[in-house]
Point group: C2
């Protein structure tokens, strides 16, 4: 080990240990153990431009073991990213750019938000997919615009998580040759030795997945790490795992113990560590001048790399102006003009259609204008209607394939979609049954936290799916997804609302891959629903506003013929009762409303409320106009009642489902569990009758 | 294949195909393909008593691929379980005993609720753990009371799911020699050939996990299946996977296609199938007399097995009366007298204590009286305080170990806990951070659906956990867990409430393994909380009722000294404002309440509300007494506001957190995001001030 290598690696180790000590919180063990391999990777291999962290063709680096965040912050600082040393001194403090675990929307150069284990590994798989897809789309003979690696450092914990197992199986299946994962095999987890819980043969497992596996016995052997990375790079057709035997908390008295994992070393052990590795005890946060220069050279190198790439882009533009324009548009995260012009409009006279079917039509109407709208399903493509007709499946041999068979791997799908979005250039979507959103919920949460533009196509959205029964019938899922901050949940009532939902979903991309308006859930029916009787314009505005008056009171309509985009202002139209509903229950409310008008002389408004989050963003005037404060209200949704008090008020009634479903034909399941016209009418009558309600409904 | 074998297997095949056809819904493919292996297993190996489905020492059989439910229903019917043919004719109909996917609480002989893939596999791991633990506890030389296998049939989809990967790694690690999984390797999933997404070497993967692997090339070769099962049984020290190459929809024109998977064959294909396999076209649901006799012999055989076992139990009782009494108590799902007598009481003068620490003390206080209370953590034992002091870790060599190192495998932990509970004789608990409940949510839902007695110890329950930041700070989790039907979520406010929460959690077991009061979540603080100033009795009743008056208005108390178990009835005590809060926010409300009384002359009641579900079960009188309808209310909880309108009413205010958290020291994170005394006081003043509230808060 040359002096400068040694110095650089120890700088990384002690920046981490000092920062954790200063914060009195954090994880020194991983940075100290994995500093050498990270250094080799960053110094010898990683092609990036610290001055241009979003350069499209940079190599991606994901620290899947996010608890080792200080290792990443140290690397970013030393290689010249916009992360001043004061930020490292403020590690884990409120408002700093150095949160406890890396957050991609907070810190330039952080490629993925990690910490929940296994996620970063799955993100890396998604990034490698995105790279390969974009390479297939844009590269031309003599013009290799997209050509970069995705590297990840992952831990025992990452590889114990099922999401990583799924993602590894998928990556091996797809033969993602430019994915290289370094496994920080330190044989220690929080409970103690990994012998306590993790004695499988990881390397053999990855070979079984179809990965190339390298083994480095000494994680501080820079040449061995370097050689392994070169071997991995040479494997063009399969992903590579490099298992590197490291020592957690290397150099400290707590080395090779769980004590080094998640707590500061403590003053005494920190001093002892520095003494053992020949490091000055003071000052803290020491960066030798030669290390600053040596590792800081990444900035010059990186500027050269990105400059060369921009020259390649110029040459490309000369020969492939349209593709170049498309690529540059993607880099700006912009949609092409007229991207939504092919979206269909369904006539009310058309046959009833499941919203999942309408969603499939919307996807196909968008696919032409949005060539990097890609996605698929967790082995439910025929049910989720997620297939782009005529496009090939993405596979080991078909890198430009837009249809993804994720397998029965919802969680890997979620993490992979995040990686595709994080990579940039792609609008990814993924489908499964709504109930199985539970299987990928941790990934969905990270998409929301990071503001990723990911679209979830979640079909079979209620007990209306029928015979599969309560194991497959979502009940609490709509509400528990609404509970996730920055996640937009849209449950359209018919085919046209579904088209609008897609328009909104596509439009929610941000100006960068992270920090945008966040992911969108489309909750879609298995069963056919009538096309509502409205014209497209008010519905379009209405869906965009989250809720709107679909049927005005006194209209006499059984459909929505008399609805106006804004509620009518004249007293004549003032409703005596408001139904508010989502998805398949909207049509039920229309029928019940018409009956209440005809048979009971009530003036009934029906509000379609496909999206809580969008409605909540509206000005108070609009919200009050749609849901007048003093009018009795009944909410109808085939899911848990929890939360609906927000919109119906304490005096309102909620027709929901606070139990699990039942195996029966869908229509019967709905009717038996209360979602029938008689019961909705009864709720309406009760809402109007009840004057002295109970404040608590539980 | 002998005639009777042939007839029996075809009976299973066509019972399934006929039932799916009749229901016009379901999955004929798996039963037709896997009937032979299931038949061999049930006919030659499975030790069970159809007349006594809950016989403790029966072999367990889990159909992890729950969509093949008709195979299981066929087996149950033919071997003499209480499942009449009319139930098979009513497959997937409302109220039948034959729901679309098997539900353990519905159908006698169904050992696990399956359908969501991978779960049953994990349940089987838990059952094998339970068997081994109980064997270690109860078996004595010459007295082998507990000695049975756990068998599972699983599909491609099961083995693609991360939860199964995690569980397989755990099972291999633990060396569960009596776990035998038959893999129905039919090479077809919903999207088509498994080549589309699943090309890994499954057998090599399981070998990497430390499993014994058998391969059967022809799933209809009964001798080969039988031999493989015998080989697997002979492997006493490691679990076994038997990969059986089968043909989905065997015998039908749709054989080996995805069309055979999830839809009725259709009249023509059904007829063609029967013709091809030499089966009478009529009547449907045909059971040849000789098959009924042949397979029905399981009933006599089973009665003999369980009879012999009861004789063994008698002999055991004579020599080990105490252990026998304990075993019989477990079989009755009863708790021993005085089981809770060692639970601690903490004095208000004691030092502040994190509720996770109090939970650790409660576990240890219960461990003596409840020798089959066993559990552990997903690699967070030191943080979750889940370790039973002095008890060994459960391991390959220590079968009586009560402490489980589940590894960083939350999902497998969830599925395994379910299996332990389904097995019976065990009260299982598992710990992780509250945020990582997302990783095991599908298992938690199935525990709730099935009514399993599982206890989740979920610590680090708010942004108060601090520096780890938003990736680790739960925000929406309390509410999204409350949204799951039949799941009881308790968030205690201090050490004593935590003890009561444990008392409740232990007491919620049912009379059988399934269909009880369901699982319990304990949401516990990382940070220390003061011991509230109350005596144990009213708090005990109060926690059991879900919410109670901790501080009465006008008491002048900063603690809860003046609280009474029931709210005071005299007008003098009528509050002008009610704070309701859970967990760590209760103490904050006490301080704010005292300040509002002292500085603003308000009469402030503070309600501690550790459990919504228990409070909702109370009589209206009690609920109104605790939360008087016409008094302004403020709810305070460091989580999303969604849902709190239920308790504060439309005029109430909610101090919550509708955003992700922030990396900062816990106290600072709480204070910065609004959970400080000043802000609570401000909310209190606003609640009293506001008279014309907006009906919608969003």
């Amino acid at each position: 080990m040359s002096t400068i290598d040694d110095l650089s690696i120890n700088t990384l180790r002690f920046l981490a240990a000092d920062a954790v000590e200063q914060a009195n919180s954090g994880h020194p063990g991983l940075p100290m153990g994995a500093a050498a391999m990270a250094y080799v990777l960053w110094q010898n291999h990683l092609r990036h431009d610290p001055s241009d962290p979003k350069w499209l063709d940079r190599d991606r680096f994901v620290l899947s073991a996010g608890h080792g965040s200080m290792l990443l912050y140290g690397l970013l600082h030393l290689t010249g990213y916009d992360l001043p040393i004061d930020q490292l001194r403020n590690f884990r403090q409120f408002g700093s750019l150095t949160p406890g675990h890396p957050e991609a929307h907070i810190t330039a150069g952080v490629e993925a938000t990690t910490g929940p284990l296994g996620q970063g590994f799955g993100n890396a798989v998604g990034m490698a997919i995105a790279e390969r897809f974009l390479a297939a789309r844009f590269n031309r003979p003599g013009h290799t615009l997209i050509d970069h690696y995705t590297y990840a450092i992952c831990s025992d914990g990452d590889l114990m998580e099922g999401v990583a197992s799924e993602a590894a199986s998928l990556a091996g299946h797809l033969g993602l040759g430019k994915l290289i994962a370094l496994y920080d095999d330190n044989e220690i987890s929080i409970d103690g030795s990994t012998d306590l819980a993790f004695t499988e043969d990881v390397e053999a497992r990855f070979e079984a997945y179809g990965w190339h596996v390298e083994h480095v016995e000494d994680g501080n052997d820079l040449d061995a790490v370097d050689a392994a990375i070169r071997e991995a790079q040479a494997e063009a057709d399969v992903p590579s795992l490099i298992a590197v035997r490291t020592h957690i908390g290397f150099g400290s008295p707590k080395q090779d113990t769980a004590d080094a994992h998640g707590s500061p070393l403590g003053e005494a052990a920190l001093i002892a560590s520095k003494e053992r590795l020949g490091w000055p005890l003071a000052p803290r946060f020491l960066i030798p001048v030669e290390v600053a220069r040596h590792m800081g050279a990444a900035k010059t190198r990186g500027a050269g790399l990105s400059h060369t790439w921009r020259e390649k882009l110029e040459a490309y533009r000369a020969e492939e102006p349209e593709l170049a324009a498309e690529l540059e548009r993607l880099m700006r995260h912009e949609l092409p003009g007229g991207w939504d012009s092919a979206l269909p409009v369904f006539e009310a006279s058309a046959k009833p259609m499941a919203t999942r079917a309408a969603s499939g039509k919307a996807i196909n109407a968008l696919a032409g204008a949005l060539p990097t709208l890609i996605g698929g399903s967790a082995d439910l493509a025929p049910s989720n209607n997620t297939t782009i007709t005529g496009a090939p499946a993405h596979s080991r041999d078909e890198h430009g394939g837009r249809n993804f068979h994720f397998g029965v791997r919802e969680h890997a799908m979620g993490a992979t979609l995040n990686g595709m979005a994080l990579h940039g250039g792609i609008i990814p979507y993924g489908g499964t049954f709504l109930i199985f959103s539970d299987y990928m919920r941790p990934s969905m949460r990270l998409a929301a936290l990071t503001g990723l533009h990911v679209i979830y196509v979640l079909t079979h959205d209620s007990i209306g799916l029928g015979e599969d029964g309560p194991t497959h019938q979502p009940v609490e899922h709509l509400m528990s997804l609404r509970a996730i901050p920055h996640l937009t949940v849209i449950r359209p009532a018919d085919a046209n609302e579904t088209v609008e939902a897609w328009r909104i979903a596509i439009g929610r991309g941000g100006a960068t891959a992270t920090g945008g308006k966040g992911p969108v859930v489309l909750a879609l029916s298995r069963q056919n629903l009538p096309i509502l009787d409205t014209n497209a314009a008010p519905m379009r505005d209405g869906v965009a506003r989250g809720a709107y008056v679909l049927r005005e009171a006194g209209s006499g309509a059984t459909g929505a013929a008399a609805a106006s985009p804004e509620p009518a202002g004249d007293a004549h139209a003032a409703p005596g009762l408001v139904f508010l509903a989502t998805g398949s229950e909207v049509e039920l409310c229309l029928r019940a409303g018409a009956r209440l008008e005809a048979e009971h002389g009530l003036r009934v408004r029906v509000v379609s409320m496909p999206c809580w989050e969008l409605f909540a963003e509206q000005p108070q005037d609009y919200r009050r106009a749609v849901l007048p404060p003093d009018v009795p209200k009944v909410a109808v949704e085939a899911g848990v009642t929890l939360g609906w008090e927000r919109w119906v008020g304490a005096d309102g009634l909620i027709l929901g489902l606070d139990r699990f479903g039942a195996s029966a034909p869908g229509k019967e399941a709905l009717e038996r569990l209360g979602f029938n016209e008689d019961n909705v009418v009864e709720f309406g009558l009760r809402a109007v009758r009840d004057v002295a309600p109970e404040p608590t409904l539980g």
